[in-house]
Symmetry: C2
Subunit: 425 residues, 2 copies
């Protein structure tokens, strides 16, 4: 029987992934760019907002003219005119003068602050009383307060958020240059697997992994080819992979990744032209029989056939690969999660990273604040005893708890960080 020579650590595999090169760039419409990754840094072409702008309804003034003003000691100023919305203000404010202005209006030359309308009253003729002093710059935005010309606003590799698109719109960027979307081919292998739209005969099961892995890829911004099923037939698998490599940035096979009697994936990958096997076997549970190879910059990934293991491996390795191919410079080092108290002890093995599926149960209020100085701890994480061959282990879980390589287990009642499986908000 074949066997794994040496298990690599999760971190070693993640380092291999960083050796792939980001894909080329394309220019697309701004409103299509959510979640895409900037291929070039974005530098402010001009100041934003570009002119001094009021943030309230009131009177534009020279701050020194209302110094010391109050309800019982109002400053007396001369009304010099109105600033009209959406137009350049042609007024030039002299000493002791004020101009009426609305939120968003352009300040007149000479003004350096705005007094809110609530603190003004008419004083006869063109005179008005202002009953509140303001500091220079108060109730206004400076012409370059949002961004100054030449400033790098968004770095290369940035994954574009709603606020980023807003910033780019503010500068009139109708198009944006981003890395192309990775094209990923997904194959399943195994003589017992049938397509999901088929009724399985006894001893057969439907293809699960193609659909779950495809969805994960799409959520990461990839274009997916569902390349179907290949039986336990090394030549057929070799031929199919070879064809898919020509038109995809990665070929992902689930099944056949172990070192057993019908595991052909590793030999199929290593027989491709100029291929390099980067990893076969990871110190990871569930998911030990994981394969990563490359042929040029095309990634070849072998996931376990067990449905739970396949999806855990995809979260741990395929997501970072897709981020890397899209040129992401700052992998989310601050991975969000929730803190929870572990519901029962867990055994692991030194040197292996375990991903434990947990359900979150609300803690009763009296148990929520056990650690001084910490926000309330609302959850108990109950490990699920579901085999890695069951997809329901992941649908029933709300999150994953990691037992790191340097631990032989986790204690009951230990406070752990839970990575949520429903990534929605």
């Amino acid at each position: 029987m074949k066997s794994f020579l040496k298990l690599q650590s999760v971190e070693e595999v993640l380092a291999h992934i960083q050796r792939f090169s980001p894909l080329s760039a394309e220019t697309i419409a701004l409103d299509q760019a959510l979640g895409r990754h900037l291929a070039v840094p974005f530098t402010a072409p001009h100041d934003l907002p570009g002119f001094d702008r009021s943030t309230v309804d009131g009177y534009a003034v020279r701050a020194r003219d209302v110094f010391g003003a109050g309800e019982s000691s109002p400053a007396l100023l001369e009304y010099a005119g109105d600033c009209r919305m959406g137009e350049a203000c042609s007024l030039v404010l002299g000493e002791g003068q004020a101009a009426r202005i609305l939120t968003g209006g352009m300040l007149p030359a000479g003004a350096d602050a705005v007094v809110m309308v609530e603190y003004s009253r008419q004083a006869g003729g063109t005179l008005l009383e202002l009953t509140r002093s303001v500091a220079p710059g108060e109730n206004m935005l400076h012409h370059d307060e949002d961004a100054a010309a030449g400033q790098v606003c968004l770095p290369q590799g940035r994954r574009l958020t709603p606020q980023d698109l807003g910033l780019l719109a503010a500068f009139g960027q109708t198009q944006v240059t981003v890395h192309v979307q990775p094209r990923i081919a997904i194959l399943s292998t195994g003589d017992e697997i049938v397509p999901f739209d088929t009724t399985p005969a006894p001893g057969q099961i439907r293809d699960v992994n193609a659909h779950s892995i495809a969805a994960l890829c799409r959520a990461c911004g990839a274009c997916v080819t569902l390349a179907g099923l290949v039986g336990d037939d090394a030549p057929a698998l070799r031929c199919t992979v070879g064809t898919l490599m020509a038109s995809h940035h990665a070929v992902v096979i689930s099944g056949g990744s172990s070192a057993g009697m019908r595991d052909h994936t590793v030999e199929v990958f290593t027989s491709q032209p100029d291929s390099e096997l980067l990893c076969h076997g990871v110190a990871l549970s569930p998911g030990k029989p994981f394969i990563l190879a490359r042929s040029g910059n095309v990634a070849l990934m072998g996931l376990p056939g067990h449905t739970g293991s396949a999806l855990i491996c995809a979260r741990v390795f395929l997501r970072p690969l897709l981020a890397r191919l899209q040129g992401r410079t700052a992998p989310a080092q601050a991975a969000p999660g929730v803190l929870a108290r572990l519901g029962r002890p867990l055994a692991s093995a030194q040197g292996r990273r375990d991903y434990i599926r947990v359900r979150l149960e609300a803690l009763p209020e009296e148990e929520q604040s056990p650690v001084p100085g910490l926000p309330p701890l609302r959850w108990r994480a109950m490990p699920l005893a579901v085999p890695s061959g069951c997809i329901s282990g992941l649908t029933r879980a709300q999150g994953l708890v990691v037992c790191p390589e340097n631990r032989e287990g986790l204690y009951a009642d230990e406070i752990v960080s839970v990575e949520l499986l429903d990534d929605s908000l």
Copy 2:
């Protein structure tokens, strides 16, 4: 001057949102359903995997026949045949018999466990020695271990994840019934605003909010109509809103939501047929001038014009509205975040909820473990002093820290939960 009668709390507004009804259902292809919300619970139509299945390469046995077996005291069994992959196993295992089986194969009748191939050796003729005992059920999945017929696997209102699509595929669900996507019309108002593909004259600025809010809506599964710009003209705005209401589930206006001289949104909403004003003014910073109204089940939402405030309000109120319209039953009560040490003190006001934009800085290693029993604290949250009228306050921030209503501020060095603004993983 008009003014807010009474500010509502964030929780009061969220309660209004729960009064909207979920939208109708439609049936779509499984592979299009990621992120959509189930309109009916999903009940397992049959057992999964549907037959007893090996999870290893080895020999199917009756566990009692290998009781006590070990390296120096092997159990001697009779080889009864092979279980072929993807076929019903026609063997019936008698006492003292074993059948060869591969990972994923169907167990023969009579077998209740599998001994891994590593613990087997030939013993001449049809005899073999097994050198490891197994418990009943070991190294196999029971026919209903992933799911039992009739079991509710996914509840109504579930937001479908990659693993959910895998489970549905396992049951051959090529289509799935989900709530329709909300159709959201987005308008901007303000005489000083010009379309983003226009060069603004002095005193004008480009429309930012339409693009950032549209992206946020799309990320939440909505279909967006960018309905353009309307000036500070109540009749024009009333007419446009009335038209959009006929074909959308919500109309969102940014700008004109306050109680100032050119704020028409609230009167435009209340003048629509059968409209009900649910809220004008929230005890929230940034974002006080927020409006929520309804006309039947059509939501009318007024966001502040200030670009930062608009997007915060959209995160706090528009996202839950979109979840509600899509029938989401379990709003993510376990909101993910990272814990951080606050970099400087912050003042707030009793009774108001503040959303503070923060940058995350990595803490030096010696400061990472200050709380016994807690995972390492890796981050310092540095509040950004950027006005709410600047979009860059959100593009420069990595997250938001909430100062709740019952606090008058937060202390320097306090441990806070940071909601990440880049929701990607």
